[in-house]
Symmetry: C2
Subunit: 411 residues, 2 copies
């Protein structure tokens, strides 16, 4: 085996990788991204790569739309309607109908909107629910911000926060459950949770299901509408490649839109914002999820980034994602000495997102060494090497090289 | 007088304008901005002009920092520390010490943080305040989002919202007042409120003063520290020229930082965010005002935009602003037939921000016509023509031409 990780070592696996890449129906999609030569980028689940269409579009937004058209761009360049227009671009990627998603603010801020609104919906009269529902269940293994924001939402709406392992949610549900916040894919382990089954269980108990899609949107089918999800949020800078800190989104099922009661009723969510009336009258539809003036540069960078999805089927993405992670695990098995790493990502496809998390000793140092050798994943405390597989721009040769480089480090 | 508004008509006022521009100590600052030829842009109080340094910087952020360095840029390009670093760039413009301002989210979101935190500070023990303080006073003439968000903050903290005209605030204060939200400059009339006097009155009543600086920061001295303001928020896309929807900021006085209790405790505000612990431990200092991942493209465009302030004194900006608005009013008086417009902006310098608002019949149509003739201000319902004067790039000839064009429309 070659000592340098940059050479195309001839191994049975590297030959297989080449064949798999040649047959890859999404192989051409990599041309839609700008990636440094020689880099294996497996951190798209933290920050997606730069779509090739973005730089020219952002330059136009800055120099022409802002610099020349100035204030006119709110109308003429479609700035004002961007949050819903881009929401409709995300909709097919998560199985939502048009008019259900609004883009803007961070994931944390959208979680706050969603959880407070869910508590109010659960306590509201008229739909069989009632004020006795005062418990908010939250994934005990969640990405931290979800738990922190859920605690604040509970505190401010008089609910009790109950952390529960996702598998234990069905048993924790009861007549006092108002809402349940779950992650579709766990950020650390890469475990895919059962969105259809858990949503059904939550709703059977009379509560609302709120899903965080940060680690699933753009990597696998979500089916928000098909599975009757109540509310959802997600970021756009991971598998949607919107850029660093690009705005998040909020999904509100149609049946909840009319009663959606935002804790952040900024002027952009008003039915007639430019009337500038002292009284607040909320807009209908997804606009109600807005708050203040949207960050247009980040928002329109995201819009151009979504062009990379033109003609791409999420089912094809899922197929390739599973094939990539399977192949990566096979390569790890072949290249890494036994007992040095252990996958904490479920082997079962039905329980796997689009990442592989390997538990190992000295994980932080191992990841630094991998990065030094041109394989970028990330480290998650205390002992996890995390490798994200973005099917639009990661290939099988990348997976093989990543595993081979890891093997060299242990070898 | 010439029939075409684009010619440099020789009138006593145009000759004066030329002399004033020639003597203008800030005249050279216009070179720091990109403005279309022939345009008189008096809408910088809605969307500031494009600073010349921004396009190249944004291109670098997109293509190199994101596209090449990818995830490494959170450290290597200073993305992670941008909210406080840029806060410290804004600080001298509003009279704040370093370490008091954090940039991120929209003004509306920051208002929510500030008002909920103010309510909690007012109700908190240990500083002579107490739970009997349950009234939130808010400027009855405020920009709408402030009132809407204040209503939500009051609802969620058990406070009573009381709208009060700013001048009536001293009489409305009492032992139940928790906090008062005021606008430094009224968005519609351009009236500058007495920040030092009102802050002192609010604090003498044992309440907290929360100021909205959207229409004053970058246009006149604010003196947050000198006047002992408790909390403040502001946007950055008006006189700070950060670009459409660029992130807002939150100021927390040093004495309140340790007890600042955010309703949006996202993971970015954690003392050790990458430990990703289930328990929330807030960071010290301005970091505590963060929520989720900041929108880096908009944030770093703002950072480059702030380069336009290099070597500029806010006192000089204020001097020019008053001279410009005085001169504009003089030109309006000279060019516009008597009785057609009436200034609703105070004549007294001590009560004037950096805009002139003229009440007129058919204001929307008049503004459309002005814009068609190359003079861009804006219309505010029901009857106001609003002209913002940004001293860094607006000159006296602009003021003269704007008034002359207005005169032509009525002439």
């Amino acid at each position: 085996m070659s000592e340098t990780p940059f050479s195309a070592a001839e191994t049975p696996l590297s030959i297989r990788a080449e064949a798999l890449d040649a047959a890859d129906e999404l192989g051409k999609m990599r041309e839609r991204f700008t990636l440094p030569d020689g880099l294996v980028y497996l951190d798209g689940n933290s920050l997606g790569a730069l779509p090739a269409a973005v730089p020219a579009h952002v330059a136009d937004v800055v120099s022409r739309q802002w610099g020349e058209l100035l204030i006119r761009s709110w109308d003429e360049s479609g700035w004002w309607t961007a949050p819903e227009r881009i929401g409709d671009r995300i909709a097919p990627l998560v199985g939502a109908a048009p008019g259900r998603i609004v883009v803007g603010d961070s994931t944390s801020v959208n979680l706050f909107k969603a959880l407070v609104a869910a508590a109010r919906l659960a306590a509201g009269a008229g739909d069989g629910r009632g004020p006795g529902r005062d418990e908010l269940l939250v994934d005990a293994t969640t990405f931290p911000t979800d738990g922190y924001i859920a605690a604040s939402a509970a505190r401010m709406t008089g609910m009790k926060l109950i952390p529960v392992e996702p598998a234990a949610v069905p048993d924790a549900l009861g007549p006092r459950t108002a809402a349940v916040l779950l992650n579709h894919v766990d950020y650390r382990s890469g475990r895919l949770h059962d969105l259809p089954g858990l949503t059904a269980a939550v709703q059977a108990a009379g509560a609302l299901a709120v899903w965080d899609l940060c680690h699933s949107a753009g990597a696998l089918p979500v089916g928000l509408n098909a599975h009757g999800v109540d509310l959802a949020v997600g970021c756009t800078y991971k598998y949607l490649n919107g850029g660093p800190g690009s705005p998040a989104y909020l999904y509100v099922a149609e049946r909840h839109q009319a009663a959606f009661d935002s804790p952040l009723p900024g002027w952009n969510s008003h039915a007639d914002p430019f009337a500038m009336t002292p009284d607040y009258t909320p807009a209908e539809g997804p606009v109600r999820g807005r708050v203040g003036t949207p960050d247009i540069l980040s928002m329109l960078a995201l819009e151009a980034a979504l062009d990379a999805w033109e003609g791409v089927s999420v089912d094809a993405v899922r197929r390739k994602s599973l094939a990539l992670t399977d192949f990566f695990l096979e390569c790890v098995e072949a290249y890494v000495p036994a007992g040095r790493v252990e996958s904490v990502t479920p082997a079962d496809h039905a329980e796997r997102g689009s990442q592989i998390s390997l538990r190992t000793e000295n994980a932080a140092a191992v990841m630094r060494e991998l990065i030094a050798r041109g394989v970028v994943g990330d480290f998650r405390a205390p002992d996890v090497l995390r490798f994200g597989f973005t099917p639009l721009y990661v290939g099988f040769a990348d997976a093989e090289r990543a595993a081979r480089t890891l093997g060299h480090i242990y070898g």
